[in-house]
């Protein structure tokens, strides 16, 4: 039985010649995962009822040439009656997605469910949660923390904590009692961490009124709503932590919701009736909602009642928006070296 996340990433639709399985895979980073995916598709097609298996690769790190090479090799080793019923489509634009249109009868359902699948949180995000927790402790000048407490605080398993420690072993040290702390965090470490966090699922909203509210105004309105589980992130959040930030105005409002991508976002309509849900690939959103799905958030409430996301989260939002110069400027001053 599929859980909710699996059913949102993989579903069945009716095609011209029979049932089709659509599988959305985000952030495919290596050949090992690709091969595993191909095998999964081949096994699924052993079921006589299934006609076609389509993998839609969103934000795939593998080049098309490499994908083709792998796919051709794979086709050479599987049964003839199966190999022509598997498709891999890299999707970066709407046009890319249209390549898959012909395999299903209900194209609208395909596009809607694809969009929904992009909101599902990737599986391997918790290592970044763990590192994010250590960064925040370092910024807050907090003492080292034992792995079990770090796991509890970040909502990660102990295995994930150790895996994160191993991934960033050049940055993390232990004190004499085995507690962990971030000893250093260089530019490359930041870039790696920021890139990973910036890739996390987000929901975008655009203005449809023709008279958009400014991000600053929207941040005031969210404060008036009195939500303690929604924080201001991105540029406006970073400006609070680092007032010297080299930017005059936020290009959009980043909000950080303490919850999963399945959280209720109906408050956005109350925030401003001109805001409407946009395609995840929208290039000029007015509001971007990010999610922090840990047991405890790192939000800070200022004297004027505004709730802000942590500085690392704000920097990740900015990194995702391409404000790399400004992020580097802040990092230069943080000097976690």
């Amino acid at each position: 039985m599929l859980n909710d996340k699996q059913s949102r990433e993989k579903w069945s639709q009716v095609g011209p010649h029979g049932p089709v399985t659509i599988h959305v895979i985000q952030h495919l980073r290596n050949v090992r995962d690709l091969r595993s995916l191909m095998l999964e598709a081949a096994f699924a097609l052993q079921d006589e009822g299934l006609r076609h298996y389509v993998c839609l690769l969103h934000d795939c790190a593998l080049k098309k040439k490499r994908l083709k090479l792998e796919f051709d090799s794979f086709q050479g080793v599987i049964r003839d009656d199966i190999k022509n019923r598997i498709s891999f489509v890299t999707v970066n634009t709407d046009d890319d997605l249209r390549q898959a249109d012909r395999v299903v009868l209900d194209i609208t359902e395909l596009h809607d469910r694809y969009r929904d699948a992009l909101l599902v949180k990737p599986k391997a995000s918790s290592r970044e949660d763990v590192i994010g927790g250590l960064i925040q402790r370092r910024l807050m000048k907090m003492p080292p923390i034992n792995p079990r407490d770090l796991a509890a605080q970040t909502g990660a398993s102990l295995t994930t904590v150790y895996s994160a420690v191993n991934d960033y072993k050049q940055c993390i040290e232990r004190d004499q009692e085995g507690a962990l702390y971030l000893a250093r965090f260089g530019t490359r470490d930041w870039e790696r961490w920021l890139s990973a966090v910036a890739d996390w699922p987000k929901v975008k909203f655009v203005d449809r009124s023709g008279a958009p509210r400014s991000p600053d105004k929207l941040s005031n309105l969210i404060t008036k709503m009195g939500r303690s589980d929604v924080a201001i992130g991105g540029v406006l959040g970073a400006m609070k932590h680092y007032p010297e930030l080299d930017i005059t105005a936020a290009p959009h409002l980043d909000l950080v919701v303490h919850g999963s991508p399945n959280s209720d976002l109906s408050f956005i309509k109350e925030l401003d009736p001109g805001l409407e849900l946009a395609d995840p690939r929208e290039k000029f959103p007015l509001v971007i909602v990010h999610f922090v799905n840990q047991p405890a958030n790192e939000f800070e409430t200022s004297n004027n009642g505004k709730v802000y996301a942590s500085l690392p989260q704000c920097l990740a939002d900015m990194w995702g928006a391409g404000l790399t110069h400004q992020v580097e400027d802040v990092l230069e001053n943080l000097r976690l070296k």
Partner: protein, 297 residues
Amino acid sequence: MNDYLAPHEVLASVADAIPVDLRKDIIIVGSLAAAYQLLRDDDQSVRTKDVDGMVAPHAKAVVAATNVTNSLIDSGWTPKVNEGFELPSDEQTDAKNLPVVRLQPPNNAGWFLELLGAPSAIAPDEHGALRTAQRIRAKASHFELPSFAYLGVVQYMPTESEYQLRIATPQMMALANLLHHPEIGVTRMGASISGRKIKRSNKDLGRVVAMAHLMDLLNEDALEAWPQLWRDALQMYAPRNAEELLKIAPSGLHALAESYEDLDEALHSVNQGLLSQRPLTSFAFEIALKRLLNIVG
């Protein structure tokens, strides 16, 4: 309705024909006032034929309106004849047959100035009527000076213009319209607007939304000041029932939001008038209404 009026040209023309000491008794209200306050670009104009001037305060409205009428007619302005009313009228003319003061400037039949009087109170009269009237005895004719109960709130902090004429603020015109239409009435306007007979309440409530939208474009924080300004004005002009009136004020907007047909009429009306140079889509108009309701409740 085909004519566009440039607020500054019209105000200059009215001011030119009235002695300086009489100008301060006039508060320009209606679409021209809204255009003056909200259409800030020099080349912006508004589609209207009537320029409404309220003579205030109530205590001297009749005397001041008489003087203004005499002064304009002496300057060559001509009374506009309305079907069914007697012009010129005199002492023998029954009050119900008196024409209102509608004066066209010399050599320009494109628009007219209509005079109103400040009401004695921000409330219906003892018979529940929202419209009352007084007789003015000008040299050329007797006229009727009508007053609308809630329009009196425009006396609260009008803008002092460079023409020595005062201009009602959008916030107070909005409040007057809202108090006048706590629900969508069935009465339709006599004249059609681009081929459609519009309910009076839809026209007035639509203008409230349009003014809110235009003010929002000028300053996205401005609408938030409306509730307090309304409270201040009502405490000054209707202190005994200020809170009750404040509670009633948004009712008409709620009624408008619930009826597609009325919303459509309201939009048609403002797109032919105040927003004629930058018309809104029905979607954008609905958002402007919702934004306003988010603030005024």
